[in-house]
Amino acid sequence: MAPRIAEHAADAVAQITDGSTVLIGGFGNAGQPMELIDALLECGATGLTVVNNNAGQADAGLALLIKERRVKKVICSFPRQSDSWHFDEAYRAGELELELVPQGNLAERIRAAGAGIGGFFTPTGYGTMLAEGKETREIDGVGYVFETPIKADFALIKALRADTFGNLVYRKTARNFGPVMATASSNAIVQVDEIVPVGQIDPETVVTPGIYVDTVVAIESGPTPALAPKKK
């Protein structure tokens, strides 16, 4: 089935309910679906579990969701940054649960969820405090840790372009988590710079096939800022 084409960001995220697990794409500003995150803040959903590489920067996007205490748990690899003051405050106040995951394990756990894999043994993290309490196994003389998939109710993703079948292409390093996150949620919501008619994306260049995409919204967001906005 072709994806729903939403009118605007608020329409795109309207189904996100309290207590949902939401994958949010992006690495720094690149690939971060800023307008969808703003709309999620506006829609008022709370008690969210958010999966992202980071835990919000400065006074924008995910950082504001955390500031408004809409997030009960963050699953990420790198929460602590020079401008992650809203995360720092909520975490130190004991008002936000953190699950810290090595970046490659995070990506692979999301990939596993989308690929129907029940878990996998990875060498990353073996012998470290992030493997404490987890099943381990030695295979051919190498230590591995068992990691489980991260499934989600929703994914918020930014791509460059979609056709009306939901086929996606991305732009440069803004691709990052988008393709795996699209596969791992029941409802992948994608913001793109433009939606084009079917046939205008060369099938050989499609990165995310439309089968994974549930909702598309066109948002003129302009060039990605190179740096996070400074504290006001």
Partner: protein, 218 residues
């Protein structure tokens, strides 16, 4: 066969980076960690034909973007705007780390808080009470490449050796480091223990006295 060499002066940061760059094999696929290792790219030559990987999904990363060529969608793992070289490619995060974990990268250069005589690495967390932990790609990088090299100062500000018998900082990866570049010496770690490849502004004997593990001369 490696033979021990020595210079009168300690290495500067740039000289360390230059030495690491010169040691990277021609045609290698390399990941340079955030901080000091990033400087290595400034000393790689065109003739070496080294391809740089950045874990946020790119091979063929070029130099830091100059003013006027900054593109917010084209950044490195430190979120600094960079450029793309001819032959570059983009891929998603799971592919990027599969590439690393699968042993396809030849060399990874990282910073460190401590390295043990057995090549265990600590570089992600001080373990200090109340510190917010953040790991990023550190654990994946440590164990992924065919060779993991460390660039670090040999001693802390309190004059403690960062090359130790056993880590006191939280582990990033076990038995993964094969080479350490410091201002005073280059160390090789393999099944035979720790050998000093070169000393700089110091002697093998002084190093043996100050570093609390058994050292051999290469």
């Amino acid at each position: 066969m490696t033979t021990f060499t020595t210079t009168e002066a300690a290495l500067t940061r740039d000289e360390m980076a230059q030495l690491v760059a010169a040691d990277i094999p021609a045609g290698a696929f390399v990941n340079l960690g955030i901080g000091q290792p990033t400087n290595v790219s400034n000393f790689l030559t065109d003739e070496q034909g080294v391809t740089l990987h950045t874990e946020n999904g790119m091979l063929g990363m070029g130099p830091v973007a100059a003013e006027g060529e900054v593109d917010g969608d084209l950044i490195n793992a430190g979120k600094i705007p960079v450029t793309e070289l001819a032959g570059a490619s983009y891929f998603h995060h799971a592919d990027s780390f599969a590439m690393m974990r699968g042993g396809h990268l030849d060399v990874c250069v990282l910073g460190a808080f401590q390295v043990s005589a057995g090549g265990d690495l600590a570089n992600w967390h001080t373990g200090a009470e109340g510190a917010i932990p953040a790991v990023g790609g550190a654990m994946d990088l440590a164990i992924g490449a065919k060779s993991t090299w460390v660039m670090m100062s040999l001693f802390t500000k309190a004059d403690d050796s960062k090359l130790v018998e056993a880590l006191t900082y939280p582990v990033t990866g076990l038995g993964c480091v094969s080479r350490i570049y410091t201002e005073q010496a280059v160390f090789l770690i393999d099944g035979d223990g720790v050998r000093v490849r070169s000393s700089h502004g110091t002697t093998f004997e002084e190093l043996a006295a100050r570093v609390p593990i058994e050292l051999k001369r290469a």
